[in-house]
Every structure is written in structure tokens, then in C-alpha cells.
């Protein structure tokens, strides 16, 4: 039988799917705040189609199924029919919509044609957050087993596997990698920059996207160099060193468990802050999830770019201006930029070190998604869709900048943008992390005296 989805799924129970879906949906509505949201959206949605203009995917495909409001209506329709009084009444009075297997299959396909970038939210006069509906719909589908296999397999390894991380990196391999990076830093900069492991009482416990240990050594070296130069107290925990949280993309139940594991590690090491590496979804899932799911005394969440920016502003990090001569541009990861959380900080850092920084347009809170958002970047079988339908708009934007370095401080965006560049034949552009460039510009000559600076100031 041909699969109704463009992504692979694990075998799932085909019996009575509509009934089981409604059970799951009902349980979610009962125990969460989504009921209020759906109720309000179902009453106010005016079907004005303004969101279509803000969706880069619809702009490319011109397929009405890709209009954000059309996608959300698939979920709202089920809500109206089965979970509101008027829907139940209507279905008794005359033939009304009935949830079928085909309907679920179509919905499952289209909810994964959305990168949950939430750009459409700004176009909706009614304030409907279609990203939230995608988020909710995917959770309900996950409870009957319809989720891209790539996301489930990674989450399974993270929560129940031996290694407790999505890339299945064993602890000895992590230690080897860190040692190797330390040697590399010694060789390049002649400085004893450390990756502190399992240091109890360190202020910040570090959770990068774990794939950085395999794919982005330069970013990690940049992170460690900033910590060294600013005297930051940080550590990597061996029980949990993965900031990736696919729960944000397909199931709040998993989201909850993953952030709790992060907090447990911070507490084990007696840390005060969860420091998240250069990764959009890891940052947002922790920033939103940790205070939501982990109690009142949950540790605050800081993104490494926020830290670096603060150090720069406080004068504790000295960067050499105009170190990067080539043209540089910056891609806003939706998960940290859409809410306005991290927009200007990285730009101020880049302006401090780049001779030729250019911005894309639109940018910041109105940026275009890389096309791999909401976990789709991990779904390799949809690459053609990701770099075509979802990534073409981004590709045009990238080409227009003519930049040599594309700074994308997000593990998912990086992988996706590399593929966008390859599949759309953009010449001479290299995707890097923010700290890949920062490390080249750090003025280490003053760095070791930083502690003395502080002492001197305190004396005064």
C-alpha cells in the first residue's frame, strides 16, 4: 500500500483511528489550555486569507492546502464537530462532517507541510496563531502513532536509550571530542581553553544541540573561547548534554519529559542556569518549557548569544573590530526571533567584528523560515520539498545578499541552509555559526586580566 504521507512513519495501529484520535484530542483539551484557544479561534476566524501572503510556502506552491488558515481549519473543524455543543446539535439535526481515516491522513500530511514558523500570526487580524494549531494537531496525531519516524527515533534514544541524546553519542566519545577540541584550540590560539566536564557548582550547565559535537566543532570552540575570555563558570554534564527537544515539534508529553531531564542535570551539578547553545528550537523549548513544566524554582534559561552579547556590552569580552573582512549576513532562526527574544543581540555582536555586515529583508521578527523548521529538517525523505517549496524563498533572499558567510545560529537552520544552498545552486556562500566568527575576533591579550580588572574595580 502506498503511504499517504510524504514522510516515513513507524508501523501503527490502524484500528478505529478516528475514535482513538478523538479520545486523545479530548484528553488533551481536558488537561491543557488548548480548549480556550480553539474555542476562541473557532468563533472568531473570519477566513480573510491575509495569512496566505505571509506564508513563504504558500507563496511558492500556490496550493490552497498550504494556506495557514486552511490548514488550521482541518483541526478547528474536528473541534467544532465533536467538542462544541453546536457541533453536536448540528450533527444530530442533519448530516454533518464525520471524522474518517482519510481525513486524518490528509490532515497528518498537511500539518507536516507547515514549518510552524508562525510568520502568519502577524497577518491575522484575529490574532490566530496557526503555529499553535499545528503544534496541537501534531500532538493529537502523535498519540495515535502518526509522526515522522525520524523525530520519534531520536526522541526515543534521548529519553530511553543508553546515551540519552538524539545523536546517540556515548560519553567516552563526548570526552574524546572535547579533548580533541581543547588540543585544537591550544594549537590554533596557544591558549588553555577548556571544556569543563561534570564540574559541580558551575554556574551554567551547557546544552547545545548535541549534533554540534559531530558537525559544528567551530561553533563549540567559539562557545568555549567566549567562556574562557570572560571567565564564565560553565560545565557540560555527562548525564545529559543534549539541548535538542523534538517534543516541541510533535508532542507536549515528550517536550515535558525532555526539559525535565535537562533540569535534573542542572540540579545534579548544582548549577544555577541552563545555558543553551546556538540552536533555535533548543532555546525556545527550554525557555518556554522549563518554567512551564519544571516548577517554581526551575533554573532560568539563557541562550549563549545572550551571554556573549551581555559580556560584550559589559566590556568583559573584547572583540577586534573589522576582523571579518568578507561580507556577512545573518539568518534569524524563527524560534528565537519571532517573539522578538533574540534579534538585535547577534547583530550587535556581528557589527562589532565584521567589516561588511548586510541584513536580509525582511528580517528579525518578520524573517523567512529556512524551510526546515518544526523538525522537518531531520526528515531526510522530504528534502526536495524542504529546499524547494519551503526553502526557495529563503534561497532568493540569500542570493540577494551576496554574502560569503551566512551566520545561522541554529543547528537545524544550519543543516537546512546548507541543503538550500546546494539544491538552489548558490555559489560561494558558507553557512557558519555566530561563535565560529566570534572566536576569530576575540582579543585574548586582555582576557586573562579580566579577573584582575574585576578585583581592581571592587577595590576602588
Amino acid at each position: 500500500m502506498k503511504s499517504p504521507y510524504s514522510y516515513y512513519v513507524e508501523p501503527f495501529d490502524l484500528n478505529e483511528r478516528p475514535r482513538r484520535f478523538l479520545e486523545a484530542f479530548g484528553a488533551i483539551l481536558r488537561h491543557s489550555n488548548y480548549g480556550l484557544v480553539l474555542d476562541t479561534y473557532a468563533r472568531t476566524s473570519a477566513k480573510c486569507s491575509r495569512c496566505a501572503i505571509n506564508c513563504p510556502i504558500y507563496e511558492n506552491t500556490r496550493d490552497v492546502n498550504d494556506i495557514p488558515c486552511h490548514r488550521s481549519e482541518r483541526v478547528l473543524r474536528i473541534f467544532r464537530r465533536y467538542f462544541t455543543l453546536s457541533g453536536q446539535l448540528r450533527s444530530r439535526l442533519w448530516n454533518d462532517f464525520t471524522l474518517t481515516d482519510e481525513y486524518l491522513d490528509e490532515m497528518a500530511e498537511h500539518l507536516y507541510h507547515c514549518t510552524a514558523c508562525r510568520r502568519c500570526k502577524f497577518a491575522c487580524p484575529m490574532g490566530i496563531d496557526h503555529g499553535l494549531i499545528t503544534h496541537l494537531g501534531r500532538w493529537a496525531l502523535a498519540e495515535i502513532g502518526i509522526t515522522p519516524k525520524a523525530l520519534v527515533v531520536a526522541t526515543r534514544e534521548q529519553l530511553e536509550g543508553k546515551t540519552h541524546n538524539t545523536s546517540a553519542i556515548p560519553v567516552p566519545a563526548l570526552m574524546d571530542t572535547c579533548e580533541f577540541l581543547e588540543e585544537e584550540l591550544m594549537e590554533k590560539y596557544g591558549l588553555p581553553i577548556k571544556f569543563p566536564i561534570d564540574v559541580e557548582g558551575a554556574e551554567m550547565v551547557f546544552f547545545p544541540a548535541v549534533s554540534d559535537y559531530l558537525l559544528e566543532p567551530d561553533t563549540l570552540m567559539g562557545n568555549a573561547a567566549v567562556m574562557y575570555a570572560t571567565g564564565g563558570s560553565w560545565t557540560i554534564g555527562t548525564q545529559n548534554f543534549d539541548g535538542i527537544d523534538y517534543g516541541l515539534f510533535y508532542s507536549d508529553r515528550m517536550w515535558d519529559r525532555i526539559v525535565k531531564a535537562e533540569v535534573a542535570e542542572v540540579r545534579r551539578l548544582k548549577g544555577k542556569i541552563a545555558l543553551i547553545g546556538e540552536c533555535g528550537h533548543a532555546s525556545r523549548s527550554a525557555k518556554v518549557g522549563i518554567p512551564a513544566f519544571c516548577g517554581k524554582d526551575a533554573p532560568p534559561v539563557v541562550n549563549i548569544m545572550e551571554y556573549t552579547h551581555r559580556m560584550l556590552m559589559e566590556g568583559k569580552l573584547r572583540l577586534r573590530p573589522n576582523t571579518i573582512k568578507e561580507r556577512v549576513t545573518y539568518h534569524d532562526p524563527c524560534n528565537i526571533a519571532r517573539s522578538g527574544w533574540i534579534v538585535n543581540q547577534p547583530r550587535e555582536i556581528l557589527r562589532a567584528i565584521c567589516a561588511d555586515f548586510v541584513d536580509m529583508s525582511p528580517r528579525g521578527t518578520m524573517n523567512y523560515c529556512c524551510g526546515g523548521g518544526s523538525g522537518l529538517v531531520s526528515v531526510d525523505e522530504v528534502r526536495a520539498w524542504r529546499t524547494g517549496a519551503a526553502g526557495k524563498r529563503k534561497a532568493e533572499q540569500l542570493r540577494a545578499t551576496g554574502a560569503k558567510y551566512l551566520v545561522a545560529p541554529c543547528a537545524n537552520c544550519k543543516k537546512q541552509l546548507k541543503e538550500v544552498i546546494e539544491d538552489n545552486n548558490i555559489e560561494g556562500m558558507e553557512v557558519v555559526g555566530l561563535h565560529d566568527l566570534v572566536i576569530k575576533a576575540i582579543d585574548f591579550s586582555t582576557a586573562p586580566t579580566y579577573a584582575q580588572d574585576v578585583a581592581a574595580k571592587e577595590e576602588k
Binding site: D39, Y41, T44, R50, V64, A292, F293, G340
Partner: protein
């Protein structure tokens, strides 16, 4: 027909008005109650109040949001201006409101009221054409999306005709009866259709934010409800 007209703008109007008021009050109270309940359950009690307020104001007075589909947006805003102001500030209506509410307020001059009415009718027709002509809107539209705008225009057209006997092909009483009945029907429909956004719109930005504020035990509870608490991932 005179008796029917008296009924339509007397008892029926009062019933319709109170149905509307009660329905909208129910929407508003329930929404605010659920916002309060949602935030009481939520693990993270901090709401970005400033952002919510700014976004709400931006859409209540959407002058900065016109750039996306410019003509459609301007038409829509003008339509709403006419739709909101005319029924409230027309002299003849204020007398009617006084009968129900017991107090009145200053009204619009005759020519201003005429201009607002024509503006509403013209922009309303443009919106209907716009909806039917746009591929995206067609794909989204339900029955009520096509049916409500023409219905909203009926009292405007009939009221305008009644006030201008020289161009009115129908009798005054007939026009007024259509005017009053359609107005009553609209009032009754407001709480049951998307027109409810007239009170819910100021809450939607808040509601969306509350949606991202989760109860700490929602995942665990859903797991228990579905007997999945011990099931592997």
C-alpha cells in the same frame, strides 16, 4: 404592515438586542474566565502584557497593518468604520436606543450619516466581490462568509431608501419593515456567528499567549488518561 413594523422595532428589537447583549456577555465572561483559569493552571505565570497590549491595539486600530493586501485592508477598515458608527450614531437610532437603554447621546448630521451609509454599502459590495474573486478567500470561505456581508448590507440599503423617499421605489413602511427585521436578525445572529469577534477580538492576542502557557502536569495527565504512562516512546 404598520403593526408589524411596530412589532419589529418594539418588542422584537428589544428581544434581539438582549439576546445579542447576553450572548456577547457570555462569550466575554467565559473567555476571560478561561484565561484566568488557564493562567492559574499554567506553570509559567508570566505573560508578556506589553506585547499583548500593543498587538491588541495594533489590530483594533489597524492603520499600521494595511501594507499586506493594501486595497483589501483599506476597504475592510472603512467597511468596519461605517458598520460600527452608523447604527450607533444615527439620530433616528439614538431615539431607539433611548427607548431600550433609557439614555441617549449626540448623533451624526444627516449628510454625514448618508455618507457613512453609502461608504458601508460600497465597501461591503467590494468585500463580497473581493472574496469571490480571490482564489485564497474562495478556498477558505464557508456559507456564513458569503451570507453575512449581504445580510449586513440589507438594513443599510433599506434604511437609506426609507430616508430618501424620492429615490425609493418601495413604500416607506415596507422599507422600514425590511430595515427593522433584518437589523433584528443580525443582532440575534451576532453571538452565534463569526460576528462575535466584535467582542472577542480584543481578547484573541491574550488567548494566543495563554495557549503557549501550559499546565505543568498536562503531559503526565494526558498520558494517564490514554493509559500510556508506562508506554515506551
Amino acid at each position: 404592515m404598520e403593526a408589524w413594523l411596530e412589532f419589529a422595532r418594539g418588542p422584537l428589537f428589544r428581544i434581539a438586542f438582549f439576546l445579542m447583549a447576553l450572548g456577547l456577555l457570555r462569550h466575554l465572561v467565559l473567555t476571560l474566565y478561561n484565561v484566568w483559569r488557564g493562567m492559574r493552571r499554567a506553570g509559567d505565570k508570566n505573560l508578556p502584557w506589553k506585547t499583548i497590549f500593543i498587538n491588541t491595539m495594533k489590530w483594533l486600530f489597524p492603520f499600521k497593518n494595511l501594507n499586506n493586501r493594501l486595497w483589501y485592508s483599506i476597504t475592510s477598515v472603512l467597511f468596519h468604520v461605517g458598520l460600527i458608527l452608523t447604527p450607533i450614531f444615527l439620530m433616528a437610532h439614538i431615539a431607539l436606543w433611548e427607548r431600550v437603554l433609557g439614555f441617549g447621546w449626540p448623533g451624526l448630521g444627516r449628510s454625514a450619516a448618508d455618507a457613512l451609509t453609502l461608504l458601508t454599502v460600497v465597501t461591503g459590495i467590494m468585500l463580497i466581490i473581493g472574496r469571490a474573486a480571490s482564489r485564497e478567500s474562495r478556498a477558505l470561505s464557508r456559507f456564513q462568509d458569503y451570507a453575512l456581508p449581504p445580510l449586513l448590507l440589507v438594513p443599510f440599503v433599506s434604511g437609506f431608501l426609507a430616508m430618501h423617499p424620492s429615490i425609493n421605489p418601495f413604500s416607506y413602511t415596507g422599507s422600514m419593515l425590511v430595515h427593522a427585521l433584518s437589523g433584528d436578525l443580525i443582532l440575534i445572529l451576532i453571538p452565534f456567528t463569526k460576528l462575535a469577534h466584535m467582542v472577542l477580538l480584543p481578547t484573541t492576542q491574550l488567548v494566543s499567549e495563554v495557549g503557549w502557557h501550559f499546565p505543568p502536569d498536562q503531559g503526565v495527565n494526558v498520558g494517564i488518561a490514554l493509559h500510556k504512562e508506562n508506554e515506551p516512546v
